[in-house]
């Protein structure tokens, strides 16, 4: 894990866009106050608008990947700040053109900006790499969930002995034709010998993980949530569905905005990638027995 990254990096940014220029200005102003730490190679600009805990590190880091969510981001940040007395809110803006970053900064979040879109869920990994809390809570910038609904995830990690606290939401399954993503989540959990997890997954928000879980799973894996999920289970971490938030309902609004099909394929592909990883860790059968099948007799 990296330490508390409160540094600023303004080097090697080719052709800053208007958005990132603004960030740079802020960053320069910030540098005067904040001592610069060692900068990782790919580190983007980090801006701390409001210091979290004056002394020591925050207990909870809330990570919010954001593209263009100006309508909701302020409310989401406010809810995030209330999940724990000691909290840092990290907003990872990527490809943002609607001023979400400025709004986030104004509302006291640490903002990490990238001029271009990073791709689905990469922001989670970036945010996690910059986080310093003992518990990391992942939510979306376009989905306002009250703090009271978010606290159980954080509490399970901080005090409940849970490494990965999932949203106990398996999607609409009371019908014959379920969405492919729901199907994929159920299938992956079963292959991981965790059918009890049903359709819950690190793919869905909200969920929280411990900093030690992050260390073991790897921040890079968070960019492919089903892969992170598979790693968590296979590493023997305590993965548990702790609280239900019906994100399906909240997602309905989103569906109208996004064309859902490409995303559907992306997420199913992510699950296949996780299954592929599973076979690399075990064998071609995912560690499942062949039950004394005498294959040579079939040849």
């Amino acid at each position: 894990m990296q330490g508390h990254v409160q540094q600023v990096s303004i080097k090697a940014r080719p052709k800053p866009t208007r958005q990132s220029q603004r960030t740079v200005k802020r960053a320069r102003a910030n540098r005067r106050r904040t001592p610069t730490a060692a900068v990782p190679k790919h580190s983007p600009q980090v801006v701390t608008a409001a210091p979290t805990q004056a002394a020591g590190q925050p207990v909870v880091s809330v990570i919010i990947p954001v593209m263009n969510e100006r309508r909701t981001i302020a409310k989401v940040i406010h809810a995030a700040k209330k999940v724990h007395p000691s909290v840092e809110v990290i907003v990872v803006c990527n490809g943002t053109t609607d001023g979400s970053a400025a709004i986030a900064r104004k509302h006291g979040a640490r903002v990490i900006t990238f001029a271009e879109p990073l791709g689905h869920d990469v922001g989670r990994g970036v945010g996690a790499a910059a986080a310093s809390g003992q518990a990391l809570l992942f939510i979306d910038g376009d989905m306002v969930i009250p703090a009271s609904e978010l606290r159980p995830y954080v509490q399970s990690v901080l005090h409940g002995g849970v490494d990965v606290a999932l949203n106990d939401y398996s999607g609409p399954t009371n019908k014959a034709n379920v969405h492919s993503v729901v199907l994929a989540k159920h299938a992956l959990n079963m292959m991981l010998r965790r059918p009890d997890l049903k359709g819950t997954s690190m793919t869905a928000v909200p969920h929280a993980i411990s900093s030690s879980a992050l260390e073991r799973i790897g921040a890079d894996a968070l960019a492919v949530p089903p892969l992170a999920h598979a790693r968590a289970v296979m590493l023997g971490l305590t993965v548990r569905a702790v609280k239900r938030v019906n994100v399906g309902k909240l997602n309905l609004l989103r569906k109208q905005r996004e064309r859902t099909n490409p995303l559907e394929y992306l997420i199913v592909g992510d699950h296949l990638e996780a299954i592929n990883w599973l076979t690399k860790q075990t064998d071609d059968r995912g560690g499942y027995p062949d039950m004394e099948r005498k294959r040579y007799l079939a040849r």
């Binding site: 879109p117 379920v178 921040a219 492919v224 592909g269 296949l272 294959r295």
Partner: protein, 362 residues
């Protein structure tokens, strides 16, 4: 085909004008003589088909053929051949295939009636291709399941008796016209399918569960679909599944694999389940040995773009495999696909700048 049919039926008519007349006046004659077997239990179109069957069998009797010498299996074979000729050119659509199966039963009843056999014995299927059945009988088999198969036009019924007891074997021996493959050892799940498949060169091979009775009428539609050109005919279990929340684990994994392979329309149907049918072309494309790991054969069938069809079965489909075995088989199949097509199969990452997190998550 059409011309052969007309030649054959006109000859039949010529030779047995009296019998044909008797068929037409069957009811009246039967009432007078007290014999009821010629009376058609059908009406309308089915009645005329019944009489056609009666005529054909009567002509056969006249030709010197005798059921006492030839046996019931030969009678069924001849009956089905005649029915096939009569159906030439029909049976293109699914609805017509269903209709022909119903007509076939009337025909078979008429045919049986002229041979003093009880009705309901046979379910003919108009087939120009040859068909065989491979029955997987692990201990706990049900003879009624095999008896249903004997009502169908199979040239051979191969029963793979895996690790059966003496009692199982004796019970099977009482059934006529079947080939029994008794294996002393356990073969392991589904290996018997490959072993049984090697025993036949038939154009169409039905794989059946020896422990579960499925009505011949239902299996007949699977054969007719294969006859019409399908390479793989599976049982469509979708109607029995209900909502997803009630699906079992294996069903979910099958559906996931179909979806991942770009065949969502197959739902949770798979050759993992019995009964199902393979064409010779399909078996050759996939390779007999793959039949021992059904999800692998399923994958290969899809990737070879074989014609896969699903047909609703009232009795549903069954699988012997344990959950563990089934999950492992499907992972193995997916892994096989991934080796050829990449970890994400056809579902690319699109834009995702993974390196930005400093790692190489793959």
């Amino acid at each position: 085909m059409q011309s052969r049919k007309s030649v054959r039926s006109s000859r039949a008519r010529g030779k047995s004008r009296r019998t044909a007349a008797a068929g037409r006046k069957g009811r009246a004659r039967a009432a007078k003589s007290g014999r009821t077997k010629m009376a058609s239990p059908y009406s309308g179109k089915l009645q005329s088909v019944f009489h056609a069957g009666y005529e054909d069998a009567s002509a056969l009797n006249k030709s010197g053929w005798s059921i006492a010498q030839a046996g019931a299996a030969d009678a069924r074979h001849r009956m089905n051949a005649r029915w096939t000729l009569r159906c030439a050119g029909r049976g293109q659509s699914g609805a017509m295939r269903m209709k022909l199966l119903a007509e076939g039963r009337a025909y078979a009843d008429g045919f049986a009636s002229a041979l003093d056999l009880p009705k309901g014995m046979w379910q003919p299927v108009a087939m120009s291709k040859s068909a065989a059945a491979v029955v997987i009988a692990v201990p706990g088999m049900n003879r009624a399941a095999i008896k249903q198969l004997q009502r169908l036009p199979f040239q051979d019924i191969i029963v793979v008796l895996e690790n059966g007891t003496e009692g199982d074997f004796a019970e099977l021996r009482e059934l006529p016209d079947i080939t029994i493959m008794q294996t002393g050892d356990r073969l392991g799940a589904d290996v018997g399918r490959a072993i049984g498949a090697r025993m036949t060169k038939a154009d169409i091979v039905l794989f059946a569960d020896g422990g579960k009775e499925t009505a011949a009428e239902q299996l007949a539609l699977m054969l007719a679909t294969a006859e019409a050109g399908a390479d793989v005919v599976m049982a469509d279990q979708t109607p029995q599944l209900g909502p997803f929340s009630r699906w079992d684990d294996r069903t979910r994994i099958r559906a996931f694999m179909n979806w991942s392979l770009g065949k969502p329309e197959l739902k949770a149907n798979s050759v993992e389940l019995l009964p199902h049918v393979w064409s010779r072309h399909g078996i050759e494309k996939v390779g007999v040995s793959q039949l021992a790991v059904p999800p692998l054969a399923h994958l290969t069938a899809i990737r070879h773009k074989l014609q896969l069809r699903s047909i609703a079965l009232q009795a549903g489909a069954s699988g012997h495999a344990s959950v563990e075995l089934s999950v492992g088989d499907h992972i193995e199949a997916l892994q096989t696909a991934m080796k050829a097509e990449g970890a994400r199969l056809s579902f690319s990452d699109q834009l995702r700048r993974r390196a930005i997190t400093g790692g190489t998550a793959t």
